[in-house]
Amino acid sequence: MNKIVIENLDLYYKDFKALKNVNLTIPEKEIIAFIGPSGCGKSTLLKSLNRMNDLVEGCRITGLVTLDNKNIYTDIEINMLRKRVGMVFQKPNPFPMSIYDNIAYGPRTHGVKSKAKLDDIIEKSLRDAAIWEEVKDRLKKSALGLSGGQQQRLCIARALAVQPEVLLMDEPTSALDPISTSKIEDLAVELKKDYTIVMVTHNMQQAARISDKTAFFLLGEVIEYNETEKLFSMPKDKRTEDYITGRFG
C-alpha cells in the first residue's frame, strides 16, 4: 500500500525552481532513500512531506502530495500532519532540558497530562529508539550531557513519542561515528516494522545497506527511482551510474 503519493510536484523558492515535476510513490513500512549531490532538491522534497517548507519565505508549491490518499496541503490540519509525519535532522537537536522532558514535550503539547501515561510513553519511545538501557537511570538529567549518537537516538525517541506514521530523516548519521551510525541504521531497519521511513543520505553504502527503494535526484528532478538493489547494481540512467560510481561531474 502506498503511504505517500507525490504527483507533478513543482517547488519554487521565489524565482528558483528547486523541484521539477516530481512523481514518487512511497510504500508503507519501507525505507526509502533519497540520494544525489548537494543542492539537488532531496532535502527540499523531504521537508515538503510535512510542510516544513511553509516556513520558508517565498516558497511556493504546485502539484499534489497525499498521505493515505488525503492532500496534505488541503485535507489535513498542519499540526496533525506533523504529528503523523515526524522529522529527525542531520545534527542532533535535543532541547536544553531533561531527557524525560525532551520526550514528554510532544505528548504534552498534544494534551497528555497523566504522569503514568507519560511514563509509559517515555519508556516505550526510548526502548523503540534503542536507548532505554543507556538512559533509564538518568532520565532527569540534561539531554545535552549525552553523546552525539545518544542525542540522535533521543531525537528519534522524541519523534516516536507522538506516535507518528512516517519518519523523515535528513542525513541522520552524517554527524555520528561509525558505531553510532550502525546503531541508527539497525534502529531504522527495526522501526520499519511499524513506520514508513524516508531518509536523505550522502552515504551511498548506507542507502544500499538499509533502504528498500532509492530515488536519485539531480538538479531538482528525480532521475531514477527503483528498488535499491537494482539501482545500485544495474542503474538504468547513465547519470545515476556516473553519480553512484563516483564519476559524476
Binding site: M204, S233, E241, T245, F248, G249
Partner: protein, 213 residues
C-alpha cells in the same frame, strides 16, 4: 575523479590480458609438444602451470583490495566480481593445458593425422583469447560469439572420437594411445567450456544478466 580507482581497473585489465595470454601460450605449447613429440616442451608446460596459479593469486588480491578500498557499485562491481569468477576458469584452463602436456610427456602417440585434434586445440585457444578480449573491450557481441563458438569445439570432439573409434577397430596394435588422445580431446573440450564460462561472465559484466539467472 577517482583516479586511483581508474588506475586499479586499468591494472586489472592488464593483469587479465597477461593471464589470458599465459593460458593461450600453454595451450599452444601443448599442441606443439603433441605434434612434434617434444617432451622438453611438454615438461615446460607442466612446470609453468604454477605461474598461472600465481597470477590468479595476484589478480584475486587486486580485486579484494578494490572491493575494500573503493566499495564499487553498479558497473564497477560487476567488472570486479566477473574478474574474480573469470580467473577461476582461467586457472582451470592452465591446469588442463598442463594435463594435456603430462599425457604427451608419457604417451607414445603414433597417429599420423592429428589435424582434427590440432584444429580442436586451436579453436579452444581462439575462444580463450576472444573471451578475454571481450572483457577488456566490453564487447558483448564478441562474448556471444565465443559462447556460440563452443559448438565448433564440440563438433571437433565428435569428429576426433569417431576417428579414434575407427582407428581402434581397424588397428592391430593396442589402442592405448588412442585412449590418451581421447583424453587430450576431452581436456580441450573442457577448456572450451571454461572459455564459455568466461564469456558468460563478460556478458554479465556488461548487461548485469548472467545466463540461467
Amino acid at each position: 575523479m577517482r583516479n586511483k580507482f581508474e588506475e586499479q581497473l586499468e591494472q586489472l585489465n592488464i593483469e587479465l590480458i597477461e593471464m589470458g595470454s599465459m593460458c593461450e601460450q600453454r595451450i599452444s605449447d601443448a599442441i606443439k609438444a603433441l605434434t612434434s613429440h617434444n617432451m622438453e616442451l611438454a615438461k615446460m608446460v607442466m612446470e609453468k602451470d604454477s605461474e598461472i596459479d600465481q597470477k590468479e593469486r595476484e589478480i584475486e588480491s587486486l580485486c579484494l583490495k578494490m572491493l575494500l578500498q573503493q566499495q564499487p557499485v553498479a558497473r564497477d562491481l560487476r567488472l570486479i566480481s566477473s574478474a574474480l569468477k573469470m580467473i577461476t576458469d582461467m586457472e582451470r584452463i592452465g591446469d588442463q593445458a598442463a594435463d594435456i602436456a603430462e599425457i604427451v610427456s608419457m604417451a607414445n602417440i603414433s597417429v599420423e593425422d592429428l589435424s582434427n585434434i590440432v584444429g580442436m586445440g586451436e579453436a579452444t585457444m581462439k575462444m580463450v583469447t576472444d573471451s578475454i578480449d571481450a572483457y577488456v573491450r566490453k564487447d558483448l557481441e564478441l562474448a556471444k560469439h565465443v559462447i556460440d563458438y563452443d559448438d565448433v569445439v564440440d563438433e571437433y570432439f565428435i569428429k576426433v572420437k569417431k576417428e579414434l573409434i575407427s582407428f581402434i577397430s581397424n588397428s592391430e596394435s593396442d589402442g592405448e594411445f588412442a585412449v590418451d588422445l581421447l583424453m587430450i580431446a576431452k581436456y580441450f573440450e573442457r577448456i572450451g567450456d571454461h572459455a564459455t564460462n568466461i564469456a558468460e561472465w563478460v556478458e554479465f559484466s556488461i548487461t548485469g544478466k548472467h545466463k540461467g539467472s
